[in-house]
Symmetry: C2
Subunit: 467 residues, 2 copies
Amino acid sequence: MREAAGTRTATVMEAIRTRLASRALSAGDRLPSIRGFAGAMGVSPSTVVEAYDRLAAEGLIRARQGSGFYVANLAPPLALAEVGPRLDREIDPFWVSRQSLDADAETAKPGCGWLPADWMPNAALRRAMRRLARADDKVLSDYGATRGLTALRRLLARQFAGEGLDVGPDRILLTGSGTQAIDLVCRFLLRPGDTVMVDDPCYFNFRALLRAHQASVVGVPWTPGGPDIASFAELAAAHRPRLYITNSALHNPTGATPSAQVAHRVLNLAAEHDMAIVEDDIFADFEPEPSPRLAALDGLSRVIRIGSFSKTLSASVRCGYIAARGDWIEALIDLQVATSFGGASPVAAGLVHSALSDGSYRKHLEALRRRLARARRDMAGRLEALGVSPWLMPRGGFYLWCGLPEGCDAAAAARSALADDVVLAPGDVFSVSQTASGFMRFNVAQMGDPHVFTVLERSLRAAKACG
Amino acid sequence: MREAAGTRTATVMEAIRTRLASRALSAGDRLPSIRGFAGAMGVSPSTVVEAYDRLAAEGLIRARQGSGFYVANLAPPLALAEVGPRLDREIDPFWVSRQSLDADAETAKPGCGWLPADWMPNAALRRAMRRLARADDKVLSDYGATRGLTALRRLLARQFAGEGLDVGPDRILLTGSGTQAIDLVCRFLLRPGDTVMVDDPCYFNFRALLRAHQASVVGVPWTPGGPDIASFAELAAAHRPRLYITNSALHNPTGATPSAQVAHRVLNLAAEHDMAIVEDDIFADFEPEPSPRLAALDGLSRVIRIGSFSKTLSASVRCGYIAARGDWIEALIDLQVATSFGGASPVAAGLVHSALSDGSYRKHLEALRRRLARARRDMAGRLEALGVSPWLMPRGGFYLWCGLPEGCDAAAAARSALADDVVLAPGDVFSVSQTASGFMRFNVAQMGDPHVFTVLERSLRAAKACG
């Protein structure tokens, strides 16, 4: 009996916690009245009083003399990992990043989104660092210009021109990272409650980022040829999204590339419904040959191109970029000054420019593409042997988006693998509709260690048993 | 007559632009009806039609068949520099940062917030860079752990312990910069419309940052002994601010230090009104001896300590930190992963740690304090000679907050000086109440060039004439 009462109290407390996490209740808001909430929850008023008192003891709410209970100002208001439906808490968009970033050296990370350190052009980086150690005092000590290192923006402008995108260095803004570039654009274009369209599946951190902006997210079904155009049109009409965020070159997680026709239709629909588009080009350098790019077709009128150097040069040297309309760049500069007092560190931008200008970089990229093509083939074969089959064979990059054997739950497999020091990327972290529990994203460059396949096989069996 | 009509149209267009900038009108909102707005503006409906058509031609608004005019989604929604009252646009919190950051090498910057490059420990930085060029591949290529380089967090924890603040490395989070640290905290604690208290005057970028968060800002009058406690109590009671942002060690722009008594009272008022406090310690290393610190008194229960290495080590190597409650750090990590995919670059954190551990760093700080003490004395004397008198003589740092000669408008002087390639910092950019037009902040380390005083004298005369 006492236990039952305890359970009822816990249920009421959990109900309030959920409202706090979802911001249905925010700092300073009055909590539901004792009697009213008791009725709503089907418990006795004394149970609600007990629950409120315990939450007050935890500092989440405060009693105000004679006027009931209020949400405390210091109640963590934006615990991102807690926001959203219960199912979503089970498989959180932060799960893979937190596990991979904080993994120890022994842990294998086929679920992570980067190449092993020894696949990167470290010799060129070391040369760049020694060159920088001889640079002018100002380069080492001063804040840089608000747009970021001119030499690097010029280099990017030349590269874009080669891809048919004519944009002066003044319309390029360097940022602290590719993610920060998208974040800055979201801060500029979005207000809480605005709707944003993403691909389903999409890079899990798009979902995390959009939570931070309290945006409402709609997912457009993704096909081997890009977003499903019929659904895109329906969703755009129904939800009037302000923004569409996508990877057009090599899509994360599937590695698919939209056809020229699809790209063209996406742009027309965006124009018809007055949407902006963020084209995240972060995997572009892995393409065997450039694919039709939204930014190039559109000429940066409503498309914003962002990217970084984390995948092919270094994730430690943080530097990203935004290419966009001139008036938007001006506003984004103010926003970046206000929120970071500048973008990419001049030291970081200097290292990137120096390494990209290093004669060895192009050779590095070509070797990397060949090495990854082999790895995709080999790992696809070894995965097939476990009944894990790629949804498609990508033209480039290091991802394989794979269907698991019938009845295998990816989340269960990932949890079991983590116990054996292997970080996997279960499908639903990528899925707005939470319909990818039978899929998993594999990073073929992080599967060299045979331990990975031993653990994978074991986890799949475990997941099937429990599923 | 036609000109008059043109003027009236322009007036209507400007009125709409202001509503867009201030977000009184936002994406998708319907514009006021032709007839209604004509009445409100005292013009003919045809004038409003003309104005709306021109704004539509500019792409700011769109006509919808039969249902009037609507704000276009792509109308820049957050042009920060445009937000706020007209007066504020005249003297914008971005004015000093944009002018100083983008100034060419010839421009003198007594208005800027950093030391000349040749005052910084560049030799130590170069050594650090050569050491890093020999570091492990992972350091050069990998994303770091979510909290940032452990060695640097341990070093900070030891330093804090020395100042009477006991906090484990796990409660320290490295960020991309000091500004980014405050921004992250604001994202965690604030929602649009929340009230934040700052000092009046305060660092101008606090005002810019809080605009980006669409916070409503109240300024507490600042005295030579810290915030005016009576006003602090009144404002806290009247506006129930969620957060107070301050520099306690050496206040920017005045260089004043709160007394222990004031610090203690501020904490009690914050507790009484359930406010969080951000203590921006960025100038702490310039203190001759440590002053009473809010974070140490409070033990990081409601105080969040932030800082960076931009003022004493390098502004080019971007790295800041947050020390706060453990549960807050966890939420801030998620937020930083979502919005930057990590904080300080491992390369940057490595450089900072290596340079701070360099035997020469302590000597550099001591020499820097002596050099600045001399510079404060000398420049104060030379400013007095122009009738420019320091509000107080700071214990440390490089700022002098000075009253201008009677009838001199700081903004006018700053604009005139800019024409002569000298960037000044007019008082009102620091003032929420816009009551500092007779003040200016000087950076004594940036006034070595005699040209500065020639231009300053000329600008003051010009400002007086025009004032």
